[in-house]
């Protein structure tokens, strides 16, 4: 179906207050559980504080409110959680673009039944690593990170709200020019509006207190219509200028992305000598493989080819090289491999650069569409 645009908001005053942009996502999740359209919802919630976003699985609609509001210190990945642990359930999942791309690649490999999922996308301008984010707030905002109640990315700024009710904002450009700001992978991420979902929610183009929704699938459309009919959300049609404003914001973000893509994958891409230095650090912990949503082979070829040897790092050809040959065509630039590498090896630059080359040759865009990559051999997995 062609995309449809709506503005929606929760009809529950408490949810409106707790959530972002009218609490629409919170109300949709509650509705999914209350109406028994799903057994569980998987979303992101605060564990200890705003720097500690973790995936939360909820069965009781009453618990959904605890996850209301947005979190940016949540560089999470839910692909594996869905395919490994939630296969037997009907689940409503809230996803960032990288999550939705991971789900798409896993779905193509039949790692879960798409019919079991309601996939609710969120516009995403990027996430922050929790520890550097706290340091950044100390350095550039001159505040105690513990005094921050909320943070948001809006109008090209990272804005914080303090306990005393005041707000402070610093331009993302200024922060990122100095090496702070969003994760590198988020800086070069091409997708801000994940249209490989059932519907996408966000504040771009929306009136204050409302959520702008792009409805992608019939399933998404039925869900919104059912929510309106059940009286949990209300809706209105956005004006043309709001649609254009949203498109303009997306375009600005894409242009910004291109600057970083060139920087990370070309001008500042590691030299061969630098890669050699990185490979010498590898301790064969398999962290990059374990966290990669695309790596799911039942028998890992890398383990077969590499015998644990503590006196030297593994041969990059049989270790990272084999991983590269298995998954790089489907690399979604989620950056989880970089995040978990104990040796700070920027693996995703290599894998994603190859995906981009593969895309140029074959037209295969990882994380989208229904077809597997050309020349993909399921026997390998």
């Amino acid at each position: 179906m062609d995309s449809e645009f709506l503005e929606i908001k929760s009809k529950d005053d408490e949810v409106c207050k707790l959530g972002e942009c009218g609490g629409s996502v919170t109300s949709i999740l509650k509705y999914l559980l209350e109406s028994k359209l799903v057994d569980k919802v998987l979303t992101i919630g605060k564990y200890d504080d705003i720097y500690d976003g973790v995936p939360v699985l909820i069965e009781n609609p009453k618990d959904v409110n605890k996850t209301a509001g947005s979190l940016h210190c949540a560089p999470t990945m839910i692909g594996d959680l869905v395919s490994k642990f939630l296969n037997d359930f009907k689940v409503g999942v809230v996803v960032k673009p990288c999550d939705s791309m991971a789900l798409n690649e896993l779905e193509k490999r039949k790692r879960f039944d798409r019919d079991n999922l309601y996939i609710i996308g969120l516009n995403c301008g990027g996430t922050l690593m929790p520890h550097p984010a706290q340091k950044m707030f100390e350095l550039f905002y001159d505040v105690n990170p513990e005094d921050i109640l909320k943070e948001e990315i809006d109008k090209g700024q990272i804005i914080i709200e303090l306990k005393d009710g005041t707000e402070k904002g610093v331009k993302i450009d200024d922060l990122e020019d100095k090496g702070w700001g969003r994760r590198e992978n988020c800086q070069r991420c091409e997708i801000m509006i994940p249209r490989n979902t059932d519907l996408v929610c966000g504040n771009w183009g929306a009136d204050d207190g409302w959520t702008f929704v792009e409805i992608i699938t019939e399933k998404g459309k039925e869900l919104i219509q059912a929510g309106i009919k059940a009286g949990v959300i209300e809706s209105k049609s956005p004006k043309q200028e709001q649609i254009e404003k949203r498109a303009k914001l997306e375009k600005i973000m894409i242009n910004l992305m291109k600057k970083f893509e060139t920087k990370h994958l070309e001008t500042e891409y590691p030299s061969l000598e630098e890669w050699d230095k990185y490979w010498n650090r590898c301790i064969e912990c398999y962290g990059c493989r374990d966290v990669c949503p695309i790596c799911w082979c039942r028998e890992c070829e890398i383990e077969k080819l590499n015998k644990e040897n503590h006196s030297k790092s593994p041969d990059p050809l049989t270790f990272q090289g084999v991983k590269l040959s298995h998954m790089s065509y489907s690399c979604i630039n989620c950056g989880q491999c970089d995040d978990v590498c104990p040796m700070e090896i920027p693996l995703s630059k290599l894998f994603y650069k190859l995906q981009k080359k593969y895309r140029k040759k074959t037209g295969y865009n990882a994380g989208f569409g229904e077809e597997l990559p050309p020349l993909y051999s399921p026997e390998m997995e």
């Binding site: 200890d48 699985l57 010498n280 912990c285 374990d290 966290v291 790092s313 995040d339 040796m343 700070e344």
Partner: protein
């Protein structure tokens, strides 16, 4: 499915780790990116710890009967141990612990020994003393920008999340020198200068000038092994000469904390303790690994009674008279103090099996008699 914060029990660095739990069972790990020490990065030891412990876990005490360990119920096991302890003089009883217990459990053990008059008690420290030096770094971040790091041991492999800091320092322009027994190691490959040594003690006795000349107030000496308890003092003296700092990397998640409560035992102290008692209680301490199983078995054979309290079944058990399961780290709450003296509390992630006695309960039952 629940994701819960915990502390990695595989070494003394104190990394955070998220555990994925389903139906009261740990089924996987998830990056704990907010944790200031490791920011979501874990080594394979940390990620696999729960798998190995699950594989070797047991719920029922075992008793040696005709050189075979057979299941024995809790009440009779604890009753028998109480009788054994009551029938020996306190000087004939020894307790060996490790850094794989919490501070709260270590406090409890200390008090238990005091009440029972047991003086032969301690924690095997791999030749490290109780850490009470002002030279210790206060935060791992100090490593990131140190201009010079000197390393003894293969930190990259044994303590990868310290190795990470060394890699960051190297990227920031730090000069890295290291020393170890092996011809090559991942730490040596990542060093600007490597010293292959045959003895740490001898190396420290004749400490190379070219290393000493590089050390200053911003540099750090990192070491995860010592041959002799006096080696620590030698390193401290070297660091005093140039005002550099030190980072001793202990072996267990609470080695630092346990040594605050219980006396430290080096290899000779441990042998003396075993030789001087008739009854030995070993708590979560893999003493076979300290000396080699053959050597330790010949020593243990001379004892009248050996009770072993452990999270998971050891490979060598033939000499033990009783083997008692104790709750795993994921099944209890408490505090652990990492190798730079920072205490972190952790919460129970899964409920322990109701039947399994905690360390406190086992010793409280013994105290009743």
């Amino acid at each position: 499915m629940l994701i819960k914060h915990s502390i990695c029990p595989s070494c003394s660095v104190g990394c955070g780790i998220n555990l994925i739990c389903i139906d009261n069972e740990v089924v996987g790990t998830y990056p704990y990116k907010k944790h200031p020490i490791n920011e979501g990065k874990n080594c394979s030891n940390g990620k696999n710890y729960y798998k190995i412990n699950k594989k070797n876990s047991f719920k029922t005490p075992l008793k040696n009967s005709g050189n075979k360990l057979i299941e024995f119920d809790w009440d009779r096991t604890v009753g028998s141990i109480s009788e054994i302890i009551s029938s020996y003089h306190s000087d004939e009883i020894g307790i060996i612990s490790s850094g794989k217990i919490t501070n709260e459990e270590a406090t409890f053990l200390k008090n238990f020994a005091k009440k029972k008059g047991i003086r032969k008690i301690g924690v095997y420290s791999h030749n490290f003393p109780k850490i009470s030096t002002e030279k210790l770094i206060s935060n791992y971040d100090e490593l990131n920008n140190a201009p010079f790091l000197f390393i003894i041991g293969d930190i990259f492999v044994k303590n990868p999340l310290i190795g990470r800091r060394i890699a960051i320092a190297s990227d920031n322009g730090s000069k890295i020198f290291s020393a170890d027994y092996s011809d090559t190691s991942i730490t040596s490959i990542n060093s600007d200068n490597y010293f292959k040594i045959s003895s740490i003690t001898e190396f420290l006795n004749n400490f190379p000038k070219e290393i000493e000349n590089e050390l200053n107030k911003d540099s750090v000496i990192i070491f995860n092994q010592l041959e002799d308890k006096e080696d620590f003092e030698k390193i401290e003296k070297i660091s005093n000469n140039n005002d550099s700092k030190i980072l001793p990397v202990l072996s267990d998640p609470n080695s630092y904390g346990t040594m605050e409560y219980l006396p430290t035992l080096d290899k000779n102290d441990l042998i003396d303790l075993i030789d001087g008692v008739k009854v030995l209680i070993i708590i979560n301490s893999d003493i076979g690994d300290y000396f080699g199983h053959a050597e330790i078995n010949s020593k243990l054979k001379k004892l009248d009674e050996i009770m072993f309290l452990t999270e998971s079944l050891p490979e060598y058990m033939s000499n033990f008279d009783y083997v008692l399961p104790i709750p795993q780290m994921s099944e209890k709450s408490g505090t652990l103090t990492n190798t730079i003296g920072k205490s972190q509390s952790f919460e129970k992630v899964v409920r322990k099996d109701e039947s399994v006695f905690s360390i406190e309960k086992i010793f409280n039952e013994i105290l009743k008699d």
